[in-house]
């Protein structure tokens, strides 16, 4: 299956293995698997941003602590994961709403950069708390999806082989379900209408009787729940869990959200996929770019996109009529 190998390409600095179809498909799959996690983080960012206009830099850390809780409940206490994961998600939603209400709202009223500082502060505090409680050594996380070496569909026989893990498919399905539920909530319920009205015009939302503050809390709650889910999926994917689990993932998520235009749900999903693909394909294609540079690569792509389209790939240039 080395179709691409027959091409008369000889580009200096380009990895020869890149011309193998199985290898490329494997890279794409890996990219889209990570990309799905980034998309979930981007969704969290977008959901908060749409109503509040700010970013929660602590989103990743809030997910990490949720994931560590799942570990403690399930691995250390033996509670099944189908109880611990929903419980952790529900708990993080409550915590998200409470943080918004008690910490963010009072600071936000004063305006300025306060909220940025609060979420950065939360980032550092939660990160430190995780390290103090759970220690700095990585542990083996809970695996909601089958994760043995053989748990995969072999699609092209190798070598190199192209296979898709069951867990990767599980991540994709989870993302699809989350997007579907979000869509239903936002487009088909009264609560969702209130949320979207606040996003569109906060003052008018107040004037039709929508409790704006509660919609902001709803945004934080949803984001926190999705963030915890993303952390659980990501820890299964990497097979290792420590207090720095989401430190880079939140950056990829922010990047994905920026690509998607910060206020678009489909944009967040596509942005996540693009960032995941860039991360996996670019270092593999250009052998002189080490994988440790993939974060930089992702950022370069984002800056490039934003230079051309400041509103992101999906962001609409706002329709405003006077």
């Amino acid at each position: 299956m080395n179709l691409l190998q027959t091409l008369p390409w000889a580009v200096p600095g380009v990895n020869d293995a890149f011309f193998d179809l199985s290898y490329v498909l494997q890279l794409v799959t890996t990219g889209l698997a990570n990309g799905a996690v980034y998309a979930l983080m981007a969704l969290s960012v977008v959901i908060v941003y749409r109503t509040t206009g700010h970013m929660n830099f602590a989103q990743g850390e809030m997910g990490t602590i949720g994931c560590l809780l799942v570990f403690s409940i399930s691995v250390e206490r033996g509670v099944p994961y189908w109880i611990s994961i929903p419980a952790a998600i529900a708990l993080s939603m409550v915590v998200g709403a409470v943080l918004q209400r008690t910490l963010v709202q009072p600071v936000e009223r004063r305006g300025g950069m306060g909220v940025v500082l609060v979420t950065l502060g939360l980032f550092l505090i939660i990160n430190a708390v995780d390290a103090v409680i759970w220690g700095a050594d990585p542990v083996t996380p809970v695996t909601p999806f089958p994760s043995e070496a053989g748990d995969r569909f072999i699609i092209l026989d190798g070598p190199p082989q192209f296979a898709i893990r069951y867990s990767t498919i599980g991540i994709w399905i989870t993302l699809a379900v989350v997007v579907g539920l979000l869509w239903l909530l936002l487009q088909r319920t009264r609560l969702g209408l209130g949320y979207r009205a606040v996003a569109a015009n906060p003052e008018s939302a107040l004037l039709v009787g929508i409790p704006k503050d509660r919609m902001l809390m709803l945004g934080w709650a949803l984001a926190a729940g999705i963030g915890t889910l993303a952390a659980v999926l990501f820890s299964q994917k990497t097979g290792s869990l420590d207090f720095n689990l989401m430190a880079a993932v939140i950056l990829y998520g922010l990047a994905a959200a920026a690509l998607g235009g910060f206020d678009s749900i489909p944009g967040a999903v596509v942005g996540g996929a693009v960032v995941g693909l860039v991360e996996s394909l670019v270092p593999a294609f250009f052998s002189f770019i080490g994988s440790e540079l993939s974060l930089v690569m992702a950022l370069v792509v984002i800056v490039a996109v934003l230079l051309v389209r400041p509103q992101g790939i999906f962001g609409k240039a706002k329709v405003v009529r006077v």
């Binding site: 209408l193 039709v208 009529r321």
Partner: protein, 238 residues
């Protein structure tokens, strides 16, 4: 019977005091017009009545026998006040229909809300044609129609209108004011309207107030103010 009593209403944006003791009353079933030059504090008065955040207020505001001071805006709306803000304030990303649904946010009688929405579509057929279009794409006149219909969907006792004629063609203005008069006559909706188009506003109003630099300087029956020399020179242009 008095629906709204305002006494000594003061309001500030941060350190800037804008209202210096407004006194006004609105009787049930009245149409009252608030006139005043640009920057006099008309919009601020309406915003203060709704207890919008960002504005610190003091003084007495009683609505339907109970004080509104310190209420959340949500509660003010629940008590029966609807506000069409200056510049319409529609939800641009939401469809026309969703804007109307949002207007009925506090109501639980879904079936009657549907009927009310259809009634407003009959009143403004241009909205009916555009019901699935996002509100941001409507013309200025259509947006004002939408803003009025949205406000009325909460079935308010008191409708606050802030310069509903702003930037609209004379025919559209005429149509809107006929609808205000009709709302007042048949639904018994009490109206407090801020208007630059004083002739038109006075023609449907029972009484009027004139506000200057955050204070009420003149009040009287609409017909009387219509012939007051000062008002004529300042607001009517003849």
């Amino acid at each position: 019977m008095t629906l709204l009593t305002v006494e000594g209403l003061e309001a500030s944006y941060g350190p800037v005091r804008v209202l210096h003791g407004i006194d006004l009353t609105v009787e049930r079933g009245e149409v009252v017009v608030l006139l005043g030059a640009n920057g006099a504090g008309k919009t601020t008065t309406l915003r203060a009545l709704c207890q919008l955040p960002g504005l610190s207020t003091s003084g007495r505001v009683d609505f339907d026998g109970r004080s509104l001071v310190g209420c959340r805006t949500e509660e003010v709306v629940r008590r029966g006040i609807a506000h069409v803000p200056q510049g319409r304030g529609t939800f641009p990303e939401l469809s026309v229909e969703e804007n109307l649904d949002a207007g009925a946010y506090l109501r639980r009688d879904r079936r009657e809300v549907r009927q009310d929405i259809e009634r407003w579509y009959d009143t403004f057929p241009r909205l009916a044609d555009r019901r699935h279009q996002s509100a941001g794409t409507l013309s200025g006149g259509e947006q004002q129609m939408l803003a009025v219909a949205r406000a009325c969907l909460s079935r308010p006792q008191l409708l606050l209108l802030d310069e509903p004629s702003l930037g609209l063609a004379p025919l559209v203005i005429q149509h809107l004011f006929e609808i205000f008069a009709e709302l007042n006559r048949s639904d018994g909706t009490t109206i407090l309207v801020v208007e630059q188009n004083a002739t038109l506003a006075l023609s449907i109003a029972t009484r009027a107030y004139v506000i200057e630099s955050g204070q009420i300087v003149l009040t009287g029956p609409a017909a009387e103010l219509h012939h007051d020399d000062g008002v004529r020179r300042a607001y009517l242009g003849f």
